[in-house]
Amino acid sequence: MHRYVLKRVLMVIPIVLGVTLLVYFIMDLTPGNPAMMILGDAATQEDIDRVNEEYGFNKPFIERYVSYMTDALQGNFGKSYVNGRPVMVEVLAKFPLTLSLAFFGVFFASLIGVPLGIQSAVKQYSLFDSVSVVTAMLLSAVPAFWLGMIFILLFALRLRWLPPSGIETWRHYILPVATVTFPQAASILRFSRSTMLETIRQDYIRTARAKGAKESVVIYKHALKNALLPIITVIGVQFGGLLGGIVIVESVFSLPGMGQLAITAIRMKDVPQIMAAIIFLSFVFCLIMLVVDLLYAFVDPRIRSIYSVKRERSSHANKKMF
């Protein structure tokens, strides 16, 4: 078990390095002179040369990347081209809002999606099943930002129950969280349903029924326990993915989160700020995936046993896990 944990934790390092290299490479292709971005159009050639020297813009790509990473590992992600402030400070200031939106969104989506999906599978082909499947299908085709607009239109402008934007009180969070929750709940519902349907058809469920176990025991003890594992993974993946997707929802409700930060930075061509935002979110995504994988290994005795019983390295097991 320890070996698995260690191996999985170590795997994060090359992936994070890969992500930073990729983002650095893409951003490096941005046309325009970064020194001009910092100094403005009126800069003299001397000033440009000085800034190039100071920031190392005239060095080869690999050298610049290595020095960026060396600084980044010490927590220094550079300064904004626009306001000269350290970019990570901005990111850390905006991140809690985005994280809490994503967290509550996934939390409520799981509360709604998992039980409904499981009920749907247990009562396959019933009216309940059809209604939830159709609703989930419909919601999966709705862009989150449009759902947000419809919520504003309905609950803020027409019924005047809730405020349309801002973050002053808890009431301000209801619409954004609902906007994040419903599409997520739809996809969790669909996934829970199909996983549960698959599990119900397994041999061990037939065995449980054959030995005379009550239907509720079969469903909630034998089937649910096994079906929950892949569902947990999917919820984790969604939580990570949401950190990106929320950027759009934030813009509907004019919330000052990572989305606003990234969009403004892209408009201003503030390269260090864009990189810090994207690298940070991707890093958090990797961490969430790590936690999900470790949780999975901890809960699933099949994975645990591979590493605790068989000490030798089995290529089959490795393939399955990564």
Partner: protein, 289 residues
């Protein structure tokens, strides 16, 4: 009686087609998609393009009427015309991103799946890296570098879809590789190229088509989202995301401006999703539910 006549033989495609026709929902969505595609292709025969972009301030923010079916926007442009021409852009982006992502990930995924070993490892680790950057952020990064235009949006969304596609194609190929008929072809001395082209691709095409259909829906929503936050195509291009973004300022006075383009997106995306579902059930009835 000759044996041949005792068994009614059907080609695989005929079976698939028959099963597909039985699925009412998929059939309806196929019909809706046909209407959408035809109206996009022949948009200029229905409404002149001029109506979608020329401003007419006198008639601004008119609610839907016989003259303007979907009303007019804040510049007096006909919303129906803008929706119609928006269909062109959305379909173009949906199809091009999917085709591009399919081409690249098809190559990478099949090489990884078929050859396995070190090549597989390298390709899949690269895909892991791509996968760790949330799709919309990756697309935003690419747009930030390339600038805003339809082509760049296609590239941006296409790149963000490669990793997911590649994984699916790899797993399809891996499954097929273990099949007896591939073993048989190998033992007959067929070369890799021949096995891939004549045995693997025809068998892998089903799940890939299904994935493509669903992917178009994702691309259309992604494109609208990018335009909505102002990083997609630029105004005054008639695009659904831009229309919604502009409608934000007029939600109180002209709610139809923020509902109609959204409905257009939902109907199109839903049709592609349902078509994909229908195709999957028709291609492999075992997969149903």
């Amino acid at each position: 009686m000759p044996i041949r006549k005792c068994f009614k033989s059907n080609s695989m495609m005929a079976d698939v087609f028959r099963r597909f026709l039985k699925n009412k929902l998929a059939l309806i969505s196929l019909m809706i998609l046909c209407v959408i595609v035809l109206s996009a292709v022949f948009a200029n025969l229905i409404v002149p393009y001029n109506k979608a972009i020329s401003q007419d301030i006198v008639n601004k923010l008119q609610p839907p009427s016989m003259q303007h079916w979907f009303g007019t926007d804040q510049f007096g442009r006909d919303v129906f015309a803008r929706i119609l021409y928006g269909t062109r852009i959305s379909l173009l982006i949906g199809v091009c991103t999917t085709a591009g992502a399919l081409l690249i990930s098809g190559f990478l995924g099949s090489v990884a799946g078929y050859y396995g070993g070190r090549v597989d490892n390298i390709i899949m680790r690269l895909m892991d890296v791509l996968m760790c950057i949330p799709a919309i952020l990756l697309a935003m990064t690419v747009i930030a570098t390339l600038g805003q235009s339809i082509q760049n949006m296609i590239i941006a969304i296409g790149i963000s879809q490669i990793s997911g596609f590649c994984r699916i194609i790899r797993s399809v190929i891996l499954n097929l590789k273990g099949m007896d008929f591939i073993e048989a072809a190998k033992s007959c001395g067929a070369r890799d190229g021949r096995i891939i082209l004549t045995h693997i691709i025809p068998n892998a095409i089903g799940p890939i088509i299904v994935q493509c259909s669903m992917n178009i829906a994702v691309s259309i929503i992604g494109a609208a989202s990018l335009s909505f936050i102002g990083l997609g195509v630029s105004p005054p291009t008639p695009e659904w995301g831009i229309m919604l973004s502009e409608a934000k300022d007029h939600m109180r006075t002209a709610p139809y401006l923020s509902t109609i383009p959204g409905i257009a997106i939902v109907v199109t995306a839903l049709s592609f999703n349902l078509l994909g579902d229908g195709l999957r059930d028709a291609l492999d009835p075992r997969l149903k539910d």
